[in-house]
């Protein structure tokens, strides 16, 4: 009887925590981890925001890199996601200086170096704009991340683009350690980053 009372008391205490959204008492990682974690450190793309210099996916000691595949004509998914990244970095605070962001265009025909750079840097100061006209290179990078895309023109002459809505997090050594699916909020992303920096 006493045990039952204790259990009930615990349940009652726990209920308000679960009432609206998820509790913050424990902090499990919101991002998904693939097994084995892909190695992307050997891949590279030209960085349009740095005059086309070679950009490798190895952020280096103490740094992390968030990678996103998108395009600037994207009216819904890309701005929604990059807004959350922007808000997440603001939440992370001081450590945000150790997080780099790179957007890779899957639509290089319409995204100029300049437009892509302005686009990503609207959200993240110093964000990298990765763009190549060589589809073989782009495909190789996308495959490395497990990301997919297609750009086609329909019967009406409109360009149709598909792309993965995922954000990828790369660790200092170039290992893709986390994936944040579309729809995850800034708080969850920021919490994951804070947890990672706490472990480092």
């Amino acid at each position: 009887m006493k045990l039952r009372t204790a259990v009930l008391a615990l349940l009652t205490m726990a209920l308000p925590l679960a009432a609206c959204g998820s509790g913050t008492a424990t902090n499990p990682i919101a991002g998904l981890q693939r097994d084995p974690a892909p190695e992307v450190g050997s891949l590279s793309l030209p960085d349009a925001s740095a005059g086309g210099a070679d950009f490798t996916f190895t952020p280096g000691e103490g740094k992390y890199l968030i990678v996103y595949f998108g395009y600037t004509s994207c009216p819904d998914v890309c701005p929604t996601t990059l807004s959350e990244v922007k808000k997440a970095l603001a939440r992370v605070g001081e450590q945000a200086k150790n997080i780099e962001v790179a957007m890779i265009t899957v639509d290089p025909n319409r995204d100029s170096d300049e437009l892509l750079t302005k686009y990503v840097q609207t959200f993240v100061k110093g964000g990298h704009a990765l763009r190549t006209d060589d589809d073989t290179t782009l495909q190789k990078v996308a495959k490395g991340f497990g990301s997919g895309y297609s750009v086609t023109t329909n019967a009406k002459g409109e360009v149709e683009v598909t792309h993965s809505g995922t954000l990828y997090l790369v660790d200092p050594a170039g290992t893709l350690i986390l994936e944040w699916p579309f729809g995850l909020k800034a708080k969850a992303i920021a919490d994951d980053l804070v947890t990672l920096f706490g472990k480092a």
């Binding site: 998914v77 807004s83 609207t122 990301s147 895309y149 598909t162 699916p181």
Partner: protein, 183 residues
């Protein structure tokens, strides 16, 4: 293609809409600036325009996303509630705003790579059935109105005029505030 759409309007979406409805109703009926659920203070200070109505049909929570850098396309969102069944058959804007407006749905295709999320794709929709007393929510990552080729950049603080055409209730002219991110 159709099969995929059917999948997407299944329970997951219904649940999300219901959750949204809860918050939307809380905002519109209690007239408080911050929603009860899921808010972490980021939406404070955003002025929500008053509900627009024609007969027993109302539209709330409308906003258009500010254009980014020199990008030419953007999207707008709102929620429709009607006391009677209806169908949203068209959305239009003046040429001084954008070349054209289209209702679109963002869909997630199933992934075959083992990655976290499938590829996302947008597709136009001809119209949207509005079920009586069931709010229909246009929101990021779901249904949205796409504005193609804006005449000039949409900047936070601007208001654009959008015309919605309903089969039963007729035409509604809506003032839509431009915001840089979701309210």
């Amino acid at each position: 293609m159709n099969g995929m759409r059917m999948n997407l309007t299944s329970p997951a979406r219904t649940r999300r809409v219901r959750r949204m409805v809860g918050c939307t109703l809380a905002v519109s009926f209690l007239s408080i600036g911050v929603a009860a659920c899921g808010s972490d203070g980021e939406s404070q200070g955003v002025k929500t325009p008053p509900e627009s109505t024609i007969g027993q049909l109302g539209v709330t929570g409308q906003w258009a996303r500010a254009t980014i850098a020199d990008a030419k396309n953007t999207a707008l969102y709102f929620t429709v509630v009607s006391a009677a069944n209806d169908r949203l058959t068209g959305v239009s804007v003046d040429a001084s705003v954008a070349a054209r407006a289209e209702m679109h749905q963002t869909m997630t295709m199933t992934s075959d790579s083992g990655a976290a999320g499938g590829e996302m794709q947008m597709g136009p929709v001809d119209g949207i059935d509005i079920e009586a007393n069931t709010p229909f929510v246009f929101e990021p990552g779901g249904y949205h109105v796409m504005l193609f080729d804006v005449a000039k950049p949409l900047v936070e603080g601007d208001t654009i005029t959008v015309t919605l055409s309903f089969k039963v209730h007729g035409t509604m002219t809506l003032d839509v505030p431009v915001l840089s991110e979701a309210p």
